[in-house]
């Protein structure tokens, strides 16, 4: 169908609210087909030292030219390391979007809110479009907003667990309280979970593992693209069927001396 709902972020006008990743593919050659099938327009990459033997395939070869590149700062354990990685990523000449990811606990892979806010502040000042990955905590979200984040990316569950929206209540609070777009990142394992996040009012979802590790990543990418669009449309449409709330008797308003129930 025709898209009239545009997601404006960092100066881009996006028609798809599904962000995808390039990690964990059995075959990077599938990436173009996943991009096409899912409709996604934003894709994440990481920055690493090159293989000194020069044998490594380059992921950039597989990313279609129209995609907005969202480099992450994975590997950073402190704000300073994240800033360093972000600057290097920008020097690659592929735009100024950056997903801040600061993790020093490799057991649970949970983001460090304090270091993330510090990195956000520095990079936002340098003109980056900063998308910080965070644990959905209202106070951290506020400091990220104050620090100049363009959107906030709370986790639904720890990275790579595919456990779904375990942090649903906290994400609801962020959606309700924050003026910035909320992009649910990490934890989403199935299209129905992505759909649910969008119905709740999330601005977008980032899904990598669940697509890359599916038996058929292209088909799963398409399913996620549709689920995110469906959830978004449901959110815009408002709640559906109305249950029978009206009652014949008026236990609470009977004192008003008129019929309080439904006509």
């Amino acid at each position: 169908m025709e898209h009239t709902d545009i997601f404006e972020l960092g100066g881009k006008r996006l028609t798809s609210r599904l962000f995808t990743g390039t990690g964990k593919y059995g075959d990077d050659g599938l990436i173009p087909a996943v991009c096409e099938a899912s409709g996604s327009q934003v894709i994440t990459v990481a920055l690493r030292r090159v293989d000194l033997d020069g044998r490594g395939d380059n992921v950039m070869r597989h990313i279609p030219g129209h995609m907005t590149l969202l480099p992450n700062t994975s590997g950073a354990r402190t704000a300073d390391e994240a800033v360093r990685i972000a600057r290097l990523a920008r020097a690659m000449g592929c735009g100024d979007w950056i997903k801040i990811e600061v993790i020093s606990d490799n057991r649970h892979l949970l983001p460090d809110g304090y270091e993330t806010a510090r990195a956000t502040e520095t990079l936002a000042r340098e003109g980056f479009v900063v998308l910080p990955y965070m644990n959905p905590d209202l106070y951290v979200a506020r400091s990220l907003a104050d620090a100049g984040a363009a959107a906030i990316m709370p986790l639904g569950a720890p990275i790579g667990t595919n456990r779904g929206l375990r942090t649903e209540e906290m994400i609801r609070i962020l959606i309700e309280e924050m003026d910035l777009p909320i992009i649910v990142d990490a934890g989403i394992g199935t299209p129905s979970q992505a759909c649910q996040a969008m119905e709740m009012g999330a601005a977008a979802c980032l899904v990598n593992t669940a697509i890359a590790t599916a038996a058929d990543p292209v088909l799963m990418g398409r399913a996620f693209g549709r689920a995110v669009a469906a959830g978004r449309e449901a959110f815009l449409a408002g709640p559906g069927a109305v249950s029978a709330l009206a009652r014949a008797s008026s236990p609470l308003t009977g004192f008003l001396g008129e019929t309080g129930g439904a006509a």
């Binding site: 309280e177 109305v242 308003t253 004192f255 008003l256 309080g260």
Partner: protein, 370 residues
């Protein structure tokens, strides 16, 4: 930062037309939502929503129970001065009215405070007219110093001040501020306040924000129901409350629903609000803002106050006198007629019989460190 642009935008907005277009279905849909936005709030205030009042009451009761439990916070007003430079056409204390004017001495303040404290109340609302020369910040600081040992929580309903003056009051021990815009309609506001410092609509409008900035814990806003169409007024009140909550998440935002009643001789409300309409206003506010404190005064009758108790009320006044010095001695001229003359003990009894706990003290601020 100011709520003024938003208030003026809403003033130009055809809210009545939008409410007239809302259907009962729109209201029911809003009731289905986990959280109700502006459009839902508007639908709940629409004439069509009136037919679903029982459903609104049910939702409002559930939300109130969930957030506040079966508790009602009790307070009483203490009028310390009725000197006033304002000409509010609806007020018994307005400057042109030739009534006895007085300002309590500190001994009288203490006597009033002790009479109130003897009833068990621990939350006080200190009131004056607007006459900073006769009862200004310094006088209020003196009152608070006398009253603070008797009352863990003292709020003021006096005259709009600058944030620095609120900081002084906060340092003296004030933790709350009540200031009613009376009406959000700037034209009507100008008409009702023909003279006096209160003419400044914008300065009054941002008073609760200045109080919040100064660190007061409770800001209580409201309109005088009956001055003009209530649906619009309550809609703007709700948005003002939401605006304050958003900017000051640490502040407890409260709304009062004071209703003028037609009565002989005095100012006649142009748009009286019926019981049914007041219930719709209150339940819509509750559903829109589940954590909003809602205050019901003794302007309402005992029977009505008792019945609306479960529908969203969180704060009530009790043992009220609206006269200067009226707690220690009877027979003085009050600001307005009260309809619920029950004593604090009687109100407590009523609350308990309905399964509610009267709360005398919500918190006690720690003394400011020197």
């Amino acid at each position: 930062m100011s709520f003024l642009p938003e208030a003026l935008r809403l003033h130009r907005e055809p809210l009545e037309e939008r409410m007239a277009a809302a259907t009962g279905h729109d209201a029911l849909r809003a009731l289905e939502r986990e959280r109700v936005g502006e459009d839902g709030f508007l639908a709940l205030l629409s004439p069509a929503a009136g037919q679903h009042l029982e459903a609104m009451a049910g939702r409002a009761r559930d939300l109130t129970l969930r957030r506040f439990g079966r508790t009602v916070s009790l307070f009483t007003p203490l009028y310390v001065s009725n000197h006033c430079a304002n000409h509010c056409r609806y007020c018994g204390f307005a400057a042109p009215n030739s009534i006895p004017r007085s300002r309590l001495t500190m001994d009288e303040v203490r006597a009033e405070g002790e009479a109130i404290a003897a009833t068990g109340l621990r939350q006080l609302l200190l009131l004056t007219g607007e006459s900073p020369a006769r009862a200004g910040v310094e006088y209020l600081e003196d009152c608070v110093r006398v009253l603070r040992p008797l009352f863990p929580s003292i709020a003021v309903e006096v005259f709009p001040m600058a944030a620095d003056d609120y900081r002084r009051l906060a340092a003296a021990g004030v933790d709350g501020l009540t200031v009613f815009q009376e009406t959000y309609d700037p034209d009507l506001y100008a008409d009702l306040h023909p003279a006096g410092p209160k003419r400044d609509y914008a300065w009054r409008l941002d008073t609760p924000m200045r109080g919040a900035e100064a660190g007061l814990r409770v800001v209580n806003i409201g309109v005088l129901l009956g001055l003009t169409g209530w649906r619009r007024e309550i809609f703007v009140t709700g948005l003002h409350a939401a605006w304050l909550m958003k900017r000051h998440p640490g502040v407890d935002v409260a709304v009062s629903l004071p209703r003028m009643r037609p009565h002989a001789g005095a100012f006649q409300p142009a748009s009286p609000v019926s019981d049914r309409e007041l219930v719709q206003a209150m339940t819509a506010l509750r559903i829109f803002l589940p954590r909003l404190s809602i205050t019901i005064s003794t302007r309402e009758t005992p029977a009505f106050r008792d019945n609306i108790l479960p529908l969203g009320v969180t704060r009530m006044s009790a043992g009220v006198s609206t006269a200067v010095g009226g707690h220690a001695k009877a027979g003085e001229t009050g600001q307005f007629e009260i309809s619920d003359p029950r004593s604090v003990a009687e109100v407590c009894e009523m609350l308990k019989s309905r399964g509610y706990q009267p709360v005398f003290k919500d918190w006690e601020p720690l003394e400011a460190s020197a």
